[in-house]
Symmetry: C2
Subunit: 219 residues, 2 copies
Amino acid sequence: MLSLVEENYLKAIYHLSEGGKEQVSTNAIADVIRTKPASVSDMIQRLDRKGVINYTKYQGVKVTNEGKEAALSVIRKHRLWEVFLVEHLNFSWDEVHEVAEQLEHIKSPLLIERLDKFLGQPKVDPHGDPIPDAKGIFRAKPQQPLQHLSEGSLAVIRAVKDTSSAFLQHLDKLGAHLGTQVKILEKVEFDNSMQIQLDQSPPVFISNQVAENLLVQEK
Amino acid sequence: MLSLVEENYLKAIYHLSEGGKEQVSTNAIADVIRTKPASVSDMIQRLDRKGVINYTKYQGVKVTNEGKEAALSVIRKHRLWEVFLVEHLNFSWDEVHEVAEQLEHIKSPLLIERLDKFLGQPKVDPHGDPIPDAKGIFRAKPQQPLQHLSEGSLAVIRAVKDTSSAFLQHLDKLGAHLGTQVKILEKVEFDNSMQIQLDQSPPVFISNQVAENLLVQEK
DNA sequence: ATAAAAATTTAGGTCAATCTAAAAATAATT
DNA sequence: AATTATTTTTAGATTGACCTAAATTTTTAT
């Protein structure tokens, strides 16, 4: 049984290792958890003892199968609650994160099973991230940062990488939502910004940062 | 800002003082919280420093106005979540307590405001307990233990005092729910049990304990 | 290949929340 | 009223989750 804090560490480690990297470093963890490397050092030794990660001194950590299962269970809960907040309590996609961070730690298998059913077993959360099923299985849709596409490409927004309020509110202003169609009209070499068209709206410029954080599926 | 544990102590103290008693004793708190009196002694000194209770050594504690507000906010959340679980996630009234004990500590005024609206601003929870509004105001319906009524009385079940699964499941078997009409057919002096009729069902005997925990409104 | 820089770990400390054992205060009983 | 019993508090320890400062290891750069 993991404590709330341990769950947060494990989730962070899992997310850091999602990017393909096998070994996750102490500093990287300290960064996401917003804590000191010394504290992380402490904690990863505890998580190692609990069997959810493998830790070798100075070499970073790797999530075990047991750890992956636990991490996915927390992620599943987080994303299901986000769906609930947006679809039933009228939250906007930039308001859900902090609350879901709390709700994800509620321990009740029955609750999650029932919530899942109530929501109609959704497959993605309001940011387009896939929701693992009860067994931790999920299918990641083929998607890439808008930045990677070339001039003239046509794509559909499927997810966002950054889920900060600032970014999401900016997208709202632009009219960029999940399912919105994007056409790349022009790529500016100078600063990697680009001019795009969202659905039938007039063309707009977006910065490199925005394009990096918009995950799209090419048509 | 109170910690989860502090909230639980405060809630317990508030509930203990609801029964009219001004001063709540260390042992009584230890009993409900299932902790040792020494730990309670520690904690009530902390809660006193935080201003939510007034503590005088060896004399017990009393909830302050500020404390009452905080306690009612937790109770409001607990009861709103119970309504949600029963009305939308198909929980039965004997399954909600433990989950609501966790959900009541989620901190998000927006969440509670929206949940309240979603649920249609309910006035009572699945056990008949009144739900305080955002300002902590609630109206307790006039009700008394069934045990207090005399032979021949007619009443309606409005709430339950005990909310343990064991008790609630027993009530389910008897067919006793909120809103069920009760007629007292006979009171047995020997053991304080009684024979009652629930709605149009055949008469049944109930023990003194059951009658003490059924809160009714006389007709 | 060595020195400097960066990352990581250890040592030692703090705070919240608990505990046990012992001391002190209050209440009950003869 | 004095003694006994009960309740409450204090003292001292423990565990989880953090911190700072110092030591160690690894990496990078000269």
